[in-house]
Symmetry: C3
Subunit: 138 residues, 3 copies
């Protein structure tokens, strides 16, 4: 069994952003040399996400608006913010969007359906964040 580890870095200009990282994940799979295996992609921070969805701008706006409705920003809305933070909503938004994706590698490639794209979802940006890619297989 072989394994491969790499890290992606992000420092978004906006507080919230969705970034398509499919090409980086594909590169990692190629570099790993793994033909059959599993690829874990996870946010290493608790106010951001890795998820799979469509690369369509309207949908991303819908997602952002929907998350704001389900888990609104608000310095005075959450107990967590009594610690001096104002990012409690980001913890909740990331909870809905998920921390990680596990993808299959088949014949040396990500075994994806036609519209599957991997995204990094930032909910508390303007600081450095990392994503981990871990691949195991043969």
């Amino acid at each position: 069994m072989g394994s491969y580890t790499s890290y992606l870095c992000f420092n978004t200009k906006s507080l919230r952003e969705f970034i398509n990282i499919t090409a980086q994940v594909e590169s990692a799979v190629k570099e790993s040399g793994v033909k059959e295996g599993l690829c874990l992609i996870n946010a290493m921070h608790i106010t951001s996400s890795v998820f799979i969805n469509d690369d369509e701008k309207g949908l991303h706006q819908d997602l952002a608006q929907w998350l704001e409705k389900l888990a609104p920003y608000g310095k005075d809305k959450y107990r967590h913010n009594l610690t001096g933070e104002d990012n409690a909503d980001a913890h909740l938004k990331r909870t809905i969007m998920g921390r990680e994706v596990v993808a299959a590698i088949t014949n040396g490639k990500l075994d994806f359906g036609p519209w599957e794209q991997v995204f990094y979802g930032e909910f508390d940006g303007r600081r450095t964040k990392r994503v981990l890619i871990k691949i195991i297989g043969n």
Copy 2:
């Protein structure tokens, strides 16, 4: 390390449906010959889910109604639907229910608790969709 790949196909009559796929996943585990390992089961589409919950009809009705409340259908409610689609709500519903399940294989069997059953959750049916089963281990 051994690996095994198979695909399930669905074309539901209803727009939304929950289908118990535990028996198919168990068959795949048996066929793989893997005794100790991991089994990834994921929707290959971005308007459907694979998740684990109880096989109880009342609960499935509760889930459907709850998802409709959190992410209501509506042609005019979402920017994504300006592309001509009417399935933005299905993208959101699948986000809550999740894309994938990773299950352990122990002694050649799915290592599940007493009530764990694997479901395919369709939120934009009446077209062909696929689920991927990927198994790695010894």
Copy 3:
């Protein structure tokens, strides 16, 4: 490829509780002897969760209150409760929080970001529940 399996047991005094299980998961990783691999940690019950977030009390209160808003408890609110149960809300809460975490193992350790801690989330306690830790790798 090596593999390792262990089970954690919980019987919470409260109906709902978040328990930090990071130390137990770290022990399992050490005991497995795996240096490079994947670690699956999942609830074996459908009314509890395993998730990663911050170990901050205020945030945990925010999470509990938020889950109660999104999926309120109520004996008469859900069809599932017609079976004699009163835990339909716990099934929904766990759906939002997720069933499982997949973590990377690098150099014999959990490859976590600075604030990542693993939690067991109980939403229908006062009975025995189990969490599965499955590790595969080299």
